[in-house]
Subunit: 388 residues, 2 copies
């Protein structure tokens, strides 16, 4: 496999905006092209990660349209969709194209505009990631399934309500320092634990919001790294892992461990030739508070049942030994679904460049990891990046 | 780049069916897995090509769902979308994954179920591939744009109405012998030239119908070719090319030549290390009669303006020197959009194996080519396969 690198990143503010999905994608893409000095260069492929652009915005055919509107015609242009992990899957496609020697420069754009439809419509669109036969027709929602998992985790590992609140408290503490985050305000344990109940025991602050936003990265071959002057500063892609599980949660082997994450992480670590203990900073898919804990355990960053201890003792803080979601994560940075995976990679690239926002920079990280969920606990993508 | 091969193919009947989109995908996939002797083997990636499954069928999240329903969990699963070339783009993704050494076995499934919504709704969904600003808001439709191109081609190259009718006449003559074709009935020049006017000068038989259907191929590394006993029979992927053009037809440099095809074909031939004259059989995207002529010229199979002469003198017949669409093409085989590109590859694989349906087998073809359009005259993918 040819070596694969990231040489440019861009991202819009995440939040609720008037900008169209096309404008969001353009803004992130042009920033990434500028950042990589490739804005006037021939791009081989444009890969778009977007979950439900037609349903959220009535704008279809994004790949072809954006090739024109971003200005990369006659580049090949493809949209990749794996639900909320569409951004990471788009990045994975770019890695494969460079890895195969089929391209030297690939522009990846993750984007979603979710505020154009009423929130109830958005929820209905998002709920389609569940199993109709086994879940939807009985009234299950992603939040309800996350609540089920939370209850079981509380039962099995003694997690308390106030302990769980520490996860979004950390997310918001970091998000408050991230100028592009959707929510830039700290919250207290009391505020989280007493916020409105959504699906017992999950409360408002346990659940990420819906957002608009876009993120973009430029993925490059070693030849392009040299051509564009990034020989000393390109971020290397060490590995990508990707796995699925059975669609319905009831068909899986465990409520408190997600096998798709385990498969994805194992494949990523094997390709990278490193161990979980080598990871210096990570961005994990915390769409619900409980998921951050499960993800840490399934990736192997901590032992099973030990994630909350790591949150409590500061291990997962920016200054800790396993910093998790210094960006604020999906909870505070926001979760425009198709954009999230690319935003995670962008944020890890900034960490590895030593250019994270003030107060969020981990000390000299060399290996970073992202983890993105594509269904409810399904279709996971893990990416490992390095600056050495 | 690691060598890439096709070791299994499957396809449903194309037409209008009661089967769900999931059943169609399953049927094609299981046939391809059986054909490649990999039905009980671990698949690394499942790649789904589908254009608008959510809008045509309300079934979202196809990649994750089909990983479960086809039985390939915990394989990575990704949906790829480039409009009507989604199937070819899914195949391209599989080629990149194998080419990069990221996978040994990739199952590709192209599928679309278009009959679940009223035809007027389907037309509205499909029309989104045009430019809203420059085309849709003025009433343009894909058929209207194809008519514009036809008029210009008639003016520039002296094409007559009855000559144009020879294209669908050939399609239906071949389709009549293809047991999986949507339309298995011959038509005459008189019938085509006198069929109802759709957009002057295009008539009913100049326009492909909408169809339901699925096709599937198993893409394999050299290691998998050996492991599964295909050392003497694997079909080799020599090259894939992919290119775009400006979204609105009015922004392009020519009405009678499609630059995205020229870019895609040039890249595919360069990678394959062959010339257009080396192609022994091809499947081209004839969604409208005029497109078959443009595609032949833009790919370089004939000189500019010479395509109709090749149709008239029998060059493009199954028995000719440049057989085009022995399957019946989109016109007669049918065009379930996301399935088409994979069906083209499946049909070329059968040709190269010497296993095409009776009366459609080209004599000893060694090199085959497919060409798939992903928008209106945009987002083209060209694939070159070989049995030697």
């Amino acid at each position: 496999m040819e070596p694969v690198n990231v040489i440019g990143v861009g991202m819009t503010q995440f939040g609720v905006f008037e900008d169209s999905i096309v404008q969001l994608a353009q803004n992130a893409a042009l920033e990434a092209l500028n950042d990589s000095s490739t804005i006037e260069s021939p791009i081989d492929y444009l890969i778009i990660g977007a979950q439900n652009p037609e349903e959220f915005t009535e704008q279809g055919h994004l790949s072809t349209l954006l090739a024109d509107y971003i200005g990369v015609v006659p580049a090949a242009a493809t949209r990749v969709e794996t639900g909320p992990s569409s951004g990471s899957s788009a990045f994975e496609s770019a890695v494969a194209l460079i890895g195969a020697g089929m391209a030297d420069l690939v522009l990846v754009v993750g984007v979603e505009k979710m505020s154009q439809v009423p929130r109830s419509t958005a929820s209905k669109i998002l709920a389609r990631m569940l199993s109709y036969e086994n879940e939807i027709q009985y009234g299950a929602t992603p939040t309800a399934l996350a609540a089920l998992i939370t209850r079981r985790y509380m039962h099995d590992f003694g997690l308390t309500r106030d302990e769980l609140s520490l996860v979004p408290v950390k997310a918001h503490r970091n998000g408050a320092k991230n100028p592009l985050a959707h929510f830039q305000k700290e919250v207290s344990v009391e505020k989280v634990s007493n916020s409105p109940m959504i699906a017992d025991p999950l409360r408002l602050y346990d659940c990420c919001a819906t957002s608009d936003g876009a993120a973009s990265v430029v993925v490059a071959s070693n030849k392009a790294v040299q051509d564009y002057g990034f020989s000393d500063s390109a971020i290397k892609v060490l590995g990508v892992g990707h796995g699925t599980d059975y669609l319905a949660v009831q068909h899986r082997t465990s409520l408190t461990s997600m096998n798709a994450t385990r498969v994805a992480a194992k494949n990523a670590f094997r390709t990278a030739g490193i161990e979980p203990s080598d990871v210096d900073v990570c961005e994990l898919h915390d769409a619900f508070s409980i998921l951050e804990l499960l993800n840490m355990e399934d990736i192997g960053l901590v032992e099973k049942g030990q994630a909350i201890a790591a949150v409590k003792d500061g291990t997962t803080e920016v200054s800790g030994t396993i910093p998790v979601n210094p960006s604020g994560g999906l909870k505070a940075r926001g979760h425009p679904t198709g954009a999230t995976g690319v935003a995670q990679i962008r944020d890890i690239v900034l960490q590895l460049r030593g250019k994270a926002p003030k107060g969020l920079q981990v000390v000299n990280p060399q290996i970073g990891l992202t983890h993105n969920i594509g269904g409810f606990g399904n279709n996971m993508v893990v990416t490992i990046l390095s600056c050495i």
